[in-house]
Symmetry: C2
Subunit: 462 residues, 2 copies
């Protein structure tokens, strides 16, 4: 594939401006106010897939946002790659912390991205990484180098739990039949240290509500005499971790996979500088479960984090009130073998049990998904590894990620095929945060590397 | 004073509609958006005092909202009563919990107010109770029965800590010179159980901010590896109470006045039904400091309550984020002898000390004030007692209140006179809460009772 670099340099500006067009649409799936924009994005994905050379593209309606299915079948005897990605994005708030508007993409240089990075919500997660595959297809089709069949499944509910994807996949096994699933929705260690994600954490996301008195009360007249829902909520949440930062929910660790000393030693080889890590976050110390390193804490260990909390008077100035209700959004990252629905139930039962007299507690599960570990002794992994080696000039490192792509475990179950996670973003790209960005170099490197995966996978499949 | 009842029945409708006009102005001192309305209310208070018969009324500018001073001096040899009240109100939120708009007063019957109650923010705290004094003055002046001199000092910053009142009082000792201070900004036990508040709690109100990483982070990539400011904040707040609900701040209880068994036995005589109390709040149990009754917990014991908490994603749906910052508004109710500035400093030092590595903590004091206990063996108390006895037909019970009127202690210090707290509201009037109201009967009863205080106080002063 001598000419992939040439093709990219010739079309670079267009590749970027096409991505800009996608990024300008605020496809925030979590907020009903943006539903129109999500639908609009789905329509745009269809057009880009057709333009890139798909024979067939369908907008498949679901109970939620539509799933875009596209395919280019060149020969039924050849292997088939199924590309998964998502066109929805996280909410942009807190908007005031963005240096430029989240849906007006701009290119700015950074230390990690001296050639410039595209700043916009979704630039990396996942519009930018998903669109690399569309442009890689365009290249292979226009240069008659597509070596196998390809299918696309691009959803619009990944950031809210992919609630309708499971049904869609189960109902379309034949249509989605494939030999390997390819996803770019993770990261790599550094631009000069390519890596392939071999493990993902599961997720259980719940919302809790603590109700005390039937109305807000004057904190002078009632203070000290009734259970204050906010004080109670802080006590309950605080009790979910012990002094070693182990999670105290009974049964929570029962199915946690314990890695061998060898495996942990292997992990520890991945380049990591704790000082750089702390400096990048402006923190004077890391914090987490006793007995595990930072990279273990955020990859092979389950966690419990409050993602949002609110109650009482949060406006300007002071209000001496005891709120009637207090709320929190809590998510647990799970490791392989932990079942997210079981963990959600364990949380619910425990949280309701520890509620003291004087308050009532409601636990509402939001969504979740299973963790996943992919073997590295497959032709899929080998093909990806050779592809990185070709374009980066060095062998990629297998790496566990702390993130979750709940549907990966589902794919394996329903479609009986493995998933390869070829991520080209960096942890420092601030996905889910203000000023999310994606390196222009990374974007183009992805478009350059993906065709080699098709090439090697097809060769190794013979 | 045979004709006070007659006068009230003749002018009842006007007394109510005049109060309505005051209640229609949203004089929320905590929120800068309403500054114009606060000023507008000050102007209106001036007009009503002049109309009621004051000789002189001044709008005294301060660094914050103005203080209205009015007086009617009939004879320098006679005693002088100084009436204090406030024309600002608490914020109305959560607005959605109001059954009728907070600044569109309406009269509705309730179980405790069969003759109807005025529903509006400020109806009881303090516009309604303050205006009783204006109408009582009108009656005494119009019927030539004002037995002594009277001064009014009505401020507009009580709900935000009376920050400028101290300076005003210190700079106007001569102008404000008086023999007794009269305030209606508290409650009584029940319409058939008149009581006089003899104790108030002090207050220290602070805001805390916990900062972790320099930006919001993806909870998958960083979850478990860095200190989550919300989790940390809940741990820190939870640690402020021990298992007996004692406050754990070192030195917090050092100066707390311990009541004798006799005093506690005396307090326990006040009519109180725990079941009614729980039912009124829809709670299955009360909650508080071990070793003390409900009435002791909210009157003679100091407390620490979170009045507001916020951080992370609090919108619809789910966002898997670790917030960079988490916040809480915390107030402590103090008892006599606890110095609010000392307690604020103890809190600040302790809260900063318990911050774990990985976060930084900022504590910002909002405002505060000292507690107060008034003796019952004074002519002021006797005059008030006889006034209630005359109009209610029974002797009022002395009662400690859990609320705070920080400036009462200040008055005693600067003006060297005692304060009498003649409150006509009920705890169930929902001050500081949605659907605040004030019984029409209570409003008119106040107007009827106040002139007798003037009468008896003047007689007893001879």
């Amino acid at each position: 594939m001598q000419d992939v670099k040439t093709y990219i340099s010739e079309h670079k500006e267009r590749f970027i401006s096409e991505l800009f067009d996608l990024l300008k649409i605020p496809s925030i799936s979590a907020d009903p106010a943006f539903s129109k924009n999500v639908i609009q994005t789905a329509q745009k994905i269809k057009e880009t897939l057709l333009h890139a050379g798909s024979d067939v593209v369908e907008i498949c309606e679901t109970d939620g946002f539509p799933i875009i299915y596209g395919e280019k079948i060149i020969n039924k005897k050849l292997p088939t790659v199924l590309v998964y990605g998502h066109y929805d994005v996280q909410p942009a708030d807190p908007i005031e912390l963005w240096d430029s508007p989240p849906f007006e993409p701009v290119i700015k240089k950074t230390d990690k991205h001296p050639e410039g990075a595209i700043f916009a919500r979704g630039a990396c997660d996942d519009k930018g990484q998903m669109y690399m595959h569309v442009k890689a297809l365009e290249f292979m089709v226009n240069t008659n180098q597509l070596p196998c069949n390809v299918k696309f499944m691009i959803e619009g509910e990944e950031e809210v739990g992919s609630n309708n994807l499971g049904v869609f996949v189960a109902n379309n096994r034949k249509k989605l039949a494939n030999d390997i699933i390819l996803i770019s929705d993770t990261g790599m260690i550094a631009n000069d240290i390519p890596s392939i994600t071999t493990g993902l954490r599961g997720l259980s996301y719940v919302e809790v509500e603590v109700t005390g008195p039937n109305r807000d009360l004057h904190s002078g007249l009632y203070g000290g005499a009734v259970a204050n829902p906010i004080n109670i909520l802080t006590k309950m949440i605080a009790s979910l971790h012990d002094e070693n930062n182990h999670i105290t929910i009974p049964g929570f660790y029962d199915k946690v996979e314990e890695l061998s000393t060898e495996e942990r030693a292997e992990m520890a080889k991945a380049p990591f500088n704790l000082e750089d890590y702390k400096n990048a976050l402006d923190i004077n110390a890391v914090y987490g479960e006793k007995g595990y390193s930072t990279n273990e804490r955020n990859a092979i260990r389950p966690t419990l984090d409050v993602n949002g909390i609110w109650g009482g008077y949060i406006g300007e100035g002071a209000k001496t009130v005891i709120a009637s209700k207090a709320y929190a959004k809590i998510s647990m990252r799970l490791v392989p073998n932990q079942d997210w629905e079981e963990i959600t139930q364990l949380f619910k039962t425990h949280f309701e049990n520890i509620a003291p007299e004087g308050v009532t507690v409601k636990v509402t599960p939001h969504h979740g998904g299973q963790g996943y570990v992919t073997p590295i002794n497959t032709i899929g992994y080998s093909a990806a590894s050779k592809a990185y080696e070709t374009t980066f000039g060095k062998k990629p490192i297998p790496q566990r990620s702390g993130g979750s792509i709940p549907i990966v475990a589902l794919f394996e179950k329903e479609l009986e095929s493995k998933t390869i996670l070829m991520g080209f973003g960096l942890n420092s790209d601030a996905i889910h945060s203000p000023n999310e960005h994606f390196g222009v170099w990374n974007y183009l490197k992805g478009i350059e590397t993906i065709p080699y995966f098709y090439k090697f996978f097809t060769e190794l499949s013979k």
